[in-house]
């Protein structure tokens, strides 16, 4: 009898040990937009996750910005999307508001982890009290400046945490803008992200663009504050502190993400993702917050992770998301975003995993509480309207009050017709 029991016991141990050792390896897929260096950074992050979770194999796909969104749309509609999808909040409304992603609400630990996220990031992932994603990082832009051009102009470097006022900015911009004999600008003081910056200026002036970012009912820009914000944008163009609209992204003065690297622009409005090329090109740079008026405000991005509705392994996909948004936050931030998880913010500041001096990163951290996201609605009409109008404004074709009136009139009509 004893022998029998011993034999059965041994058999059971053998079965359990075999099943543990031969636990099936789950394969999931992960996708994100990324440039060459970013792709390397994200691959390193995923490799680290696989090292910590040997039973989960993650296959990755990294694509440049535009192809990424085109492919994502096709795969989500065709139900062949990767298990874990990266989203930027301004590109996600079509999917989130239509509940086209996996409902993560009932997955273990989702609500708790979401509570750890910074205020303002949650709206991007929730619809009808259901959770369709988990904020992973905050893309924050600050002002990056070329120290050599400041030295040439005999200007002191700006403070890396206290912002300049609008007037202070215009004063230094005057010294940093250089024209040739014919009056043509050969060096601009700054290249800013006009398509998005206008809203920061409206908020800085004490105004507001819209009453609600996810379910708007009214445009609020057509008032004294809104017009003042738009006026400042126009003033910067009139004073030739920033390049005209046409040169914003494609001209000789680079883009807001690369302008300082051209050597012809003293300041640009970019995130930590733009620091690498400057470092590689031995450009001495510093950072400071975006200027302010009545209050601070700066347009930023919420990046979040979601699970595809067609995922066959949502549990494994959640494991990756949970790690990236939780324990792996400090490793995630090496890729350039600031942590979305409040619990890791102090650690990120202290441990500084970014590979740049603390004083450089200080400007980005100082911007974080003032980040505004812009509308997250399932239509491109609103962004088209604002882009067209701001283009007219910065091309000096219309006045700030005309721009505000147009955005209000046409924007209200667009909002009334949004199909959720």
């Amino acid at each position: 009898m004893r022998k029998k029991i011993l034999f059965i016991g041994l058999c059971l141990i053998l079965v359990v040990a075999t099943s543990v050792l031969a636990a099936p390896k789950v394969t999931i897929t992960y996708t994100r937009w990324a440039g060459t260096q970013e792709a390397r950074d994200f691959q390193a992050l995923i490799d680290l996750f696989m090292e910590k979770n040997p039973n989960i194999k993650v296959e990755t796909e990294f694509l440049p910005w535009d192809p990424y969104w085109n492919k994502l749309m096709t795969t989500i509609i065709g139900r062949t999307a990767p298990d874990v999808i990266s989203f930027s909040h301004q590109m996600s409304a079509q999917y989130v508001s239509r509940e086209a992603l996996y409902d993560m609400t009932k997955l273990p630990g989702v609500s708790k982890l979401l509570d750890e996220m910074q205020e303002g990031t949650r709206a991007a992932v929730m619809v009808n009290k259901k959770i369709y994603g988990m904020p992973v990082g905050a893309g924050v832009r600050a002002v990056i400046y070329n120290k050599a051009l400041f030295d040439q102009a005999g200007l002191a470097y700006p403070d890396n945490e206290d912002p300049m006022t609008w007037d202070e900015f215009l004063k230094i911009a005057e010294k940093l803008t250089i024209k040739d004999k014919n009056g043509k600008v050969i060096q601009y003081a700054a290249n800013f992200h006009k398509r998005e910056m206008w809203e920061s200026l409206v908020v800085q002036a004490g105004g507001k663009f819209i009453d609600d970012y996810t379910k708007p009912t009214k445009i609020l820009i057509n008032n004294k504050e809104g017009i003042a914000g738009l006026q400042f944008l126009r003033t910067m163009v009139e004073k030739k502190a920033i390049p005209p609209w046409e040169d914003d992204w494609e001209g000789a003065f680079g883009s807001p993400d690369s302008a300082v690297a051209t050597g012809k622009v003293a300041m640009m409005q970019a995130g930590p993702w733009s620091l690498g090329p400057l470092k590689d090109n031995n450009i001495k740079f510093g950072t400071c917050p975006l200027f302010m008026n009545k209050q601070r405000a700066n347009r930023g991005y919420i990046n979040f992770l979601a699970i595809s509705r067609n995922s066959k392994n949502p549990q494994a996909a959640w494991k990756l998301i949970e790690w990236m948004c939780g324990d792996g936050q400090l490793d995630f931030t090496k890729t350039g975003d600031l942590p979305a998880n409040k619990n890791y913010l102090a650690a990120a500041q202290k441990e500084n995993p970014y590979g740049y001096p603390e004083e450089v990163m200080a400007a980005f951290f100082s911007e974080l509480p003032y980040v505004i996201t812009g509308p997250m609605v399932p239509t491109t009409e609103l962004i088209t309207l604002t882009e067209n109008t701001v283009q007219d404004l910065t091309s000096l074709r219309i006045s700030p009050s005309e721009a505000a009136a147009r955005i209000e009139e046409m924007g209200d009509e667009i909002i009334a017709n949004i199909e959720y």
């Binding site: 079509q94 999917y95 239509t379 091309s395």
Partner: protein, 328 residues
């Protein structure tokens, strides 16, 4: 008349359609051959049914619905069609497409014939010119559109504006102005005139030289020969080019989107205030930017109906006016 005689009178050898006649008599061998024929063409037929016929009819079904590709379609009846009448973006797209059709096709065909007639002459180095005229067709339209963007850029950055400013002409927003955007598309499209020219050249080469020789003996000059021989006898080629040019013009998309697509923008717009809108660009915009597939499908069907209507009109007009060499 016996069927074999009718075949002969149509210019074919009498036994050309032997298989068909035998099949008509119910020969089993030919039934087998016929079956084999179907088997041989079946990959194409299956492909056609799956990838063309089905999407065509499905798009009509979708055009009667509201559908965002993620949720179930909701039946709307004809409202996707009726709403187009009061849709300002559709009307701008329609206007731009008609302008493009008229000028791009009209001038393209006229210039194409003229250049082809010049290059058909026996002169030194004509084949070099033929190659040079055709060469631009090897450039992908999207790439060419992107090349044209900085040329027509606004303010004092675009090449055209730089040249105009040297001549004392004020800067102009070529691409951003709703009244000029489509003209840039039309001008850009002339780059591809070589394709039209090469078909007309082949048509001219197939005209019996005897007509020209006879006309020359009678003292007709180059223009006389061009208008009285070349143009009338090119009727079928002009018809073909007009119909294909019309279809091409109705489908213009690649040049406007490459002129409109701004770097750094997260969304593609149809130019400022829809300055570069065309019907297919609008269809794309509705379907793949606004996710309004029902609305987009309705635009697609309207484009199809316009194309069909114009084709019938062209057939009717040109059939009445062209000459046949054989008839003459």
């Amino acid at each position: 008349m016996e069927i074999t005689e009718r075949v002969e009178s149509a210019g074919f050898p009498a036994d050309s359609f032997k298989g068909v006649f035998l099949l008509a008599k119910g020969r089993s061998l030919l039934a087998k051959r016929n079956l084999m024929g179907w088997v041989y063409v079946s990959p194409w037929i299956i492909g056609f049914l799956c990838f063309q016929a089905f999407p065509i009819f499905y798009s009509f079904y979708i055009s009667l619905h509201k559908w965002d590709m993620l949720r179930k379609p909701t039946f709307l009846g004809l409202s996707n069609y009726t709403s187009l009448v009061s849709d300002p973006r559709f009307l701008i797209s329609l206007r731009n497409t008609f302008l493009f059709m008229l000028f791009s096709m009209g001038l393209g065909i006229s210039l194409g014939i003229f250049i082809a007639a010049l290059l058909a002459e026996k002169m030194k180095g004509t084949h070099i010119y033929r190659t040079l005229f055709y060469l631009p067709n090897l450039v992908v339209p999207v790439a060419f559109g992107m090349m044209m963007r900085p040329i027509f850029a606004g303010q004092d950055y675009g090449l055209v504006n730089i040249i105009l400013s040297r001549l004392g002409v004020a800067n102009f927003q070529w691409l951003d102005n709703p009244s000029t955007g489509i003209w840039v598309v039309i001008i850009t499209n002339f780059w591809f005139i070589g394709a039209c020219m090469i078909i007309f050249l082949a048509g001219i080469k197939s005209i019996n030289r005897a007509y020209y020789e006879a006309a020359e003996i009678d003292g007709a000059g180059w223009f006389r020969r061009f208008f009285n021989i070349t143009i009338p006898l090119l009727g079928p080629v002009i018809f073909f080019q007009t119909v294909s040019g019309l279809i091409y013009a109705l489908q213009i998309f690649d040049i406007p989107i490459s002129l409109a697509n701004l770097g750094g923008s997260v969304h593609t717009t149809m130019g400022r205030n829809d300055s570069l809108a065309s019907l297919i660009f609008y269809l794309y915009f509705l379907g793949f930017r606004e996710w309004k597939m029902g609305h987009a499908s309705a635009v697609g069907w309207v484009v199809f109906l316009i194309g069909l209507l114009f084709t019938f009109v062209i057939i009717w007009v040109l059939r009445r006016s062209w000459y046949s060499q054989d008839a003459n």
